[in-house]
Point group: C2
Chain length 421, copies 2
């Protein structure tokens, strides 16, 4: 249905909805969240039935080699995943309303006061990949932050995404005061191209995917873009590292959840410890099933690893595969991260105070860590509650983006006939 | 000299400088500011001499009708303006260092702490118009916020801009620890086009000028853009306005500084008060030399005004000219502002509580005001100290942008061998 609508009309209606949403009370928004959660819960079998259609189509694509098994797995919904969706929406009810919070205030003059107040961004376009769970997750964040959204999921999940959006909108219809057209779904690439032209109505585009997707979007729109690109994360094991901590952190940074964007892809090891440290590290990684690739120096020390090529340094494996490179010193490590990293999350393992400090200051990434696993970089771990993704851009919101990142600010001046002259 | 350099090398060097700047102490940055202020003060006559060259060229352009007198006036430097420059730089020394401030912190686990810390953006490209005062103003904000900058001023001011950048860089050379290539000047349109391609090295572009300039930049770069477009600001005089306050606010919003972006361009008047209010308003505006344009309804009530055309509603006069339109109600006023405004600053004059509240919530502008002059929208008035401009974008920084708006954030995680599993 939505694909037949003219995109401009859709964007205009979303803009209208967003203006009404800006004035919704916290109570109305929480009622909306509870209604959505309940309606999803009530329609489990319908959701699974629509998901089954996507899975059948996807099975053929897997057989034809057009879809990977891991992408197929991400498509699958089941009772348990739906329960997690529902709980995630209910959890949002408990979080503070991010809108209309006074960030600071000052008296400009007698009877003249200034307030900086948080407010919604307006209309947000979100482009994401195959996991259908993302639909209720983003819709509920949008409801709580008073933003209208236009969603574009992977086409493999079209049936699942559509039924979820329909169930959400059915629930919202029953919520007194909640506007129509707040949550929208588009389905084709053509729609995306049209959406990118709607800078009069759409305030922000959030693309979640590869670096090339994010760059493509940035090149084709005047609308501000908050990029959520891939995570090419590093652990640098310094000359002054504690080996036991280092091994534990390297292994956890990979295997705690290898397909997450905060998993480490490349371990950098200081040359002075390579000979003693590498055999221990490689063994522990291989013991838990990680495929290890190494540069020439690594291979000279530990023979049973694959050779890493130049391409490996900029590869996000999303799998239990890791590359290791030996570097001359801290400067070389920082330079490698600057050249190949995606400014997502990087960690140094060291007991050396100034090396730690330099790493924290000079590595230009959203999360920088000392003696900790990169897999801590996550909205839930950081206490932000739900997240819409992890921004690898520097502007507006950087790192895990929760409700606060979906707001902007407005200066409010209250006077009583106040003039400057 | 700089124009002969390859832009990519310039951008790369600026990036290198920005990494060093991220670690500068507050003391070093303040020393740099004082050195710059002193060197500008010492070179007054050189600055005026170079400015004279620009003025002679500009005089010809004015005679040929290629430059307006008001743009010519903005080019002029004199002893007093240089004193203001120098004082502005010294004032920045007193402001708090915006970098490396912990915004919040939390314990994630025993021995594992998270900090959200402010940090510089990196390299910022700033495109601005003819006022040469902008060079030391932006350079000093960049120094204090640890950002490298690439400046592109109006070509009419090339000699003035170059001498100022040279004087600034000469001063910075003498500051121990301060890197080279922090403050850069480019001069041609071709350089700007090249700069917009440098998304690997430049983190933010700030265009200050017309809406069409900002849109042109947004269409031609992958680099995030913080637009400082024109100010088409409104005062809406509600049915429930206090007439005395309303007249005072309308007049001040225009004449306190007519060529500033926070000056009002259009006054919207509720139809029920038009007949009694308009004669008073128009007389007071005309008494202080403002040219008044009105729609048909206005002209029917007050005959001695010019006719306003459709074009007037989207014109930034930058002069003592104003347009007046009669509207049916608050909704019509909000709709007019949404259609023609530039989301900069808009004010309602009313004694009606809910009307004020609705205006504050529903008008989607950086500054929204009740019973106050639009000319309060200004970084100094808002207590931000110096400002790099007033953002009409919603993302990152909105409204007057001071030192805080020139920073981003970074999550710092300090552990002791901490893993998630």
């Amino acid at each position: 249905m939505t694909t037949e609508l003219n995109l401009e009309n859709l964007a205009k209606s979303a803009k209208k909805a967003s203006i009404v949403m800006a004035s919704l009370s916290t109570e109305t928004k929480n009622n909306a969240l509870l209604a959505v959660a309940e309606n999803i819960n009530k329609n489990k079998s319908l959701i699974l039935q629509e998901n089954q259609k996507d899975l059948e189509n996807a099975k053929i694509l897997v057989e034809e080699g057009k879809l990977t098994q891991s992408l197929f797995n991400r498509l699958v919904l089941n009772d348990e995943k739906i329960d997690v969706m529902v709980q995630g929406i209910k959890d949002l009810v408990m979080l503070e309303d991010p809108v209309n919070k006074t960030q600071w205030a000052m008296e400009l003059d007698e009877g003249l006061n200034l307030y900086r107040v948080s407010c919604p961004i307006g209309v947000i376009g979100v482009i994401f990949e195959s996991r259908p769970e993302v639909v209720p997750q983003i819709a509920s964040l949008a409801i709580k932050s008073s933003n209208a959204v236009i969603l574009k999921g992977g086409s493999e999940a079209n049936n699942s995404n559509q039924v979820l959006v329909d169930i959400i909108n059915e629930a919202l219809k029953g919520v007194s005061g909640f506007p129509e057209n707040a949550i929208n779904l588009i389905k084709t690439r053509h729609d995306v191209a049209e959406m990118l032209k709607m800078d009069d109505y759409i305030d922000l585009i959030i693309p979640r995917g590869s670096n090339s997707l994010v760059k493509h979007i940035q090149s084709n729109t005047k609308i501000p873009v908050l990029g959520h690109a891939e995570g090419i994360c590093h652990v640098y094991v310094d000359e002054h590292a504690d080996f036991a901590k280092a091994v534990k952190i390297c292994v956890d940074s990979k295997i705690q959840y290898p397909s997450a964007c905060n998993a480490v892809e490349t371990i950098l090891v200081h040359k002075n410890i390579a000979e003693t440290f590498l055999p221990v590290l490689v063994k522990d990684l291989q013991d838990v099933g990680v495929t290890v690739k190494g540069d020439t120096t690594v291979k000279n020390i530990v023979s049973n690893v694959e050779a890493a090529s130049e391409e490996d340094w900029s590869t996000e494996y999303l799998a239990p595969i890791i590359s290791i490179r030996v570097v001359a010193d801290l400067d070389a490590a920082i330079a490698h991260i600057e050249q190949y990293g995606s400014h997502h999350t990087d960690s140094i393992v060291t007991e050396h105070w100034s090396h730690a400090q330099r790493f924290l200051r000079e590595v230009d990434s959203a999360s920088v860590m000392v003696n900790a696993s990169t897999q801590f970089a996550d909205g839930f771990e950081y206490g932000l509650g739900a997240e819409i993704g992890i921004s690898t851009d520097k502007l507006h919101a950087r790192g895990p983006v929760g409700l606060e990142g979906l707001t902007t600010q407005k200066y409010v001046v209250l006077g009583d006939g106040s003039v400057r002259a």
